[in-house]
Structures are given as structure tokens and as C-alpha cells.
Symmetry: C2
Subunit: 259 residues, 2 copies
């Protein structure tokens, strides 16, 4: 099943996507939502981010080539972390499918995309095991972890480099049925393929990641975990369009505006 | 005015505290809530955290003595940052007044309190100036930024050291009327005063902090900003009780359980 959030008059409502139609839902998508009976054309609705996370987690360097290149770029040791590297992003930075990534005037040229698989949590869970971890996963969406590399190097935290408003496109929907092993991530810039990689080829996979996190923290419905990216990105320019496609989910598409 | 969130049957509702009474409210506390007519005894209700942040911000080293001692303890340069140091904490770690701080069995002895002023945002704001910054501040509450110092040193992020479940007590309420200049922060351990400092004696005050943050990010109603702490803490032991009192707001009290 494929769940969206979209604007209906002055409120944001949930919907179930079937074909090119959106069936409006009432109640939480995590606990048996009901159809209201209203139906919209998918092409006619303005999508919002598909879920508002309670906590917004992000894996750090979680693909081999990206680990090596980024470590060199920001001056860190390139060895893989001993344990999964768990970080946070901020809700202010989230923006929807088709909405612009707006780069502030004082950013350097070094603003990059990072196409990522996003895990959406649907059930409360702590002390998960390799047997129970997948029980709390509701579905998956797509994220673009836009990053300003000079701020990533200069600031003590990633508040500006990764959490400037609009730097976290997420969407277009949450897909509950996927085949992770068969999934491919493709990033296109202005229609040109930049990189293609096996989505599940992570240094730390979803199950060990969830097991490790929940030794210390409780996951709740609506939490998201961005699983990291592979490769590198050219500098994003004003007028660029970035597409992140995950086979079996869909395509997250955002234009770039440089102020 | 003094706003709480509390348990009523199986839901969490808002209330206005007057004396020892709680007047139940309906609607957002940020936009003219209404009294439902139901009244409870403050001593008889189970308080929850007073606000669920959309984004949970935290100032890093923001008081002089704490900056010097913590920098030495975790092996960092002790000079004040050039610009305000803006970090994040995670909602999973929040816990209410009177609820226990639960220290995992594999934590070292070095688990410390940090008594903090918490700014609660009530209006959306970006590109704030020194003239407009305080317009978005709704009120204040109290936070205890419990920290495991060995994890703070060993991990790449503060996910475990500061965001283990229950490591972020916040409450007991949001107070909208305070005199920041006259405010004192006092931390007591088992009734014994440990430290007392002028709350507003920050390296970066609230106004410049809000001005700097909102160059890049939008603040929203419900966001919280923890403003940092002064001094140091002894190691917290099983059975300890930590109280953080901010004059003009109240006292946040939490017992400690070590697993």
C-alpha cells in the first residue's frame, strides 16, 4: 500500500494511492485508517511530506565509496565506524516532493545531493532483536540529504550543513510493500543518470541498525531513519532538478533554487 | 500563565494551572485555548512533558565554567565557539517531572545532570532580528540534559550519551511570565544544593541565539531550545534525586534508577 499526505483546502490529510487515484483516509495510517469516501486525482493534489517524524534519525557514512570520499573531503578517518553511526536531522528542514531546494546566498558552491532509502517506523519498539526488528517497520520512502560541505567541515554540528530549511526533501509517499534485495537507487540530475547502486548494499543494514539503536532508545510510529547514500555529487546549480528513484517505491523530484 | 499536559483517563490533555488547580483546556495552547470547564487538583494529576517539540534544539557549551571543564573532560578546545553552537536532542529521550531517569546497565559511572533553561517557541519565525526575536517566544520551562560522558567522548554523535530514553527530563510546566534578568538556576542532589547560577549569564543569550538560528531555519510553535548549563555534576547514583529549580518557573524533580 502507498500512503500520502496532501493538502485539502486548508488542512493536510492522509490518503491511500491506488493507480492515479487518492482515497482520502481518516485516523492514523499506523492503526487501520478508514476511507472517508472522498477521491482525488493523484496528479491534481499538492503532496506534503508523507509523514511528520517524532524523531528524525539518520545513518552516517553507511556505503563504502561514500564513506571513503566524504571522510577525505571533511578530513576524517575513512575507516568504517566500529558500531552503526546514529545521527539526527531536524524537522524544519523537511520539504515535499516537487518543492524547491532553496540554497541560501551565503552557501558555498559545494551543495550536494544524497539519495537515500528512508525507513518509516509503524510500531513502538525497544530492545529489538534480529528476529523482531522488522516487525516495527511500516514501510519506506525516499530522502535527499542535501548537504553544504563547507559548513559540514566548519561547524561543530550539522545544524546548517544539513538542516537549513528545504535541505531534506522526503517523499513522494510511504510504500509498505517492497523487495529490498531487488531495489536499486538511481540519482538523476537534469535527467542525466549520475549514480546507480544497490539500495541494500549498506555497511550496516536495517536490522542490525534497529537492533543497535533500540538498546538505548524507543522507536515510535512516525519515526524515520534515513539509511545513508553512496557515491558523490557534483555541485548543485540554480535551475537544476534532482531526481532520486528507488525501484519499487517511486521518484522524489525537486528543483534547485540558489538565492 | 502556566500550562501543563497531563493524563486524563487514556489521553493526554492540556491544562492551565492557577494556584493548586488545573483547568482543562481544548485547542492549541499557542492560539487561544478554551477552558472545557473540568477542574483537577494539581497534586492529583500525572504530569506529562509540557510540550512535544516539533524540533528539539540545544545550545552546546553556553556558560563559561561548564565550557572550560567539559572541554577538558572530552578533549576539546576550551575556547568559546565563534558563533552560537546549535545542536539537537531527540524526542524519545524526553520524560516528565517526577518520572525516573533510568541509567542503562552498560553506562559508566560518569552520568551527570545539567540543569537548563528551556525556551518554548509559540510562533513561526525566520530571519528574526534583535527587535523581533522575542516575539516568537511563548514561555519557558526547565530541562535536565542528563549525559553519559564516556559515550559523549567515544561516539561520533551524542545519540547515546544524551539521547538514551529518559535522559531528557523536561517540565513541570511552561511559564509565560518570567523575569529572565532576576532568574537563578539551582541544582540540588538529594536535597543538597550543588550549584546556583544566574540563569541569564549565558555566553550567547536567547536573542542572539534566535537571530543566528533563524538565518537558516524556521522556528515553529512547540519547538524548544535548551540553553545550556553551568558548572559540573558528581556521578549520579541509584536512588539519587535531582532537582533543578529556576526561580519564577518552578522545580523539575526526577529520581535516578541505575539498572
Amino acid at each position: 500500500m502507498r500512503f500520502v499526505r496532501f493538502r485539502k483546502d486548508n488542512e493536510i490529510v492522509h490518503g491511500l494511492v491506488e493507480g492515479r487515484k487518492v482515497y482520502e483516509l481518516t485516523g492514523s495510517i499506523f492503526s487501520q485508517p478508514k476511507r472517508t469516501g472522498e477521491i482525488f486525482d493523484l496528479d491534481g493534489v499538492e503532496l506534503d511530506i508523507p509523514v511528520v517524524p517524532r524523531t528524525f534519525y539518520a545513518a552516517g557514512l553507511n556505503y563504502q565509496t561514500h564513506l571513503e570520499k566524504m571522510s577525505a573531503a571533511v578530513g576524517l578517518d575513512a575507516s568504517a565506524p566500529d558500531a552503526p553511526d546514529i545521527g539526527y536531522r531536524a524537522n524544519n528542514a523537511l520539504t515535499a516532493h516537487e518543492r524547491p531546494i532553496i540554497i541560501p546566498a551565503d552557501a558555498t558552491d559545494q551543495v550536494h545531493y544524497e539519495g537515500e532509502l528512508v525507513v518509516v517506523i509503524g510500531k513502538e519498539g525497544k530492545h529489538l532483536t534480529s528476529e523482531t526488528a522488522m516487525d516495527v517497520v511500516f514501510g519506506y520512502t525516499i530522502g535527499n540529504d542535501v548537504s553544504e560541505r563547507s559548513w559540514q567541515k566548519s561547524d561543530k554540528t550539522m545544524w546548517r550543513s544539513k538542516n537549513t530549511d528545504t535541505f531534506k526533501p522526503m517523499g513522494p509517499w510511504v510504500e509498505t510493500e517492497v523487495n529490498l534485495e531487488a531495489m536499486t537507487t538511481t540519482v538523476r540530475l537534469n535527467g542525466q543518470e549520475q549514480i546507480k547502486f544497490k539500495t541494500n548494499d549498506m555497511i550496516t543494514g536495517i536490522v542490525p541498525y534497529l537492533v543497535h539503536m533500540t538498546k538505548y532508545l524507543t522507536l515510535y510510529p512516525g519515526d524515520v531513519i534515513w539509511m545513508g547514500t553512496e557515491g558523490t555529487s557534483p555541485n548543485l546549480l540554480d535551475g537544476d532538478v534532482v531526481e532520486v528513484e528507488l525501484s519499487g517505491i517511486g521518484t522524489l523530484r525537486n528543483p534547485v533554487i540558489r538565492l
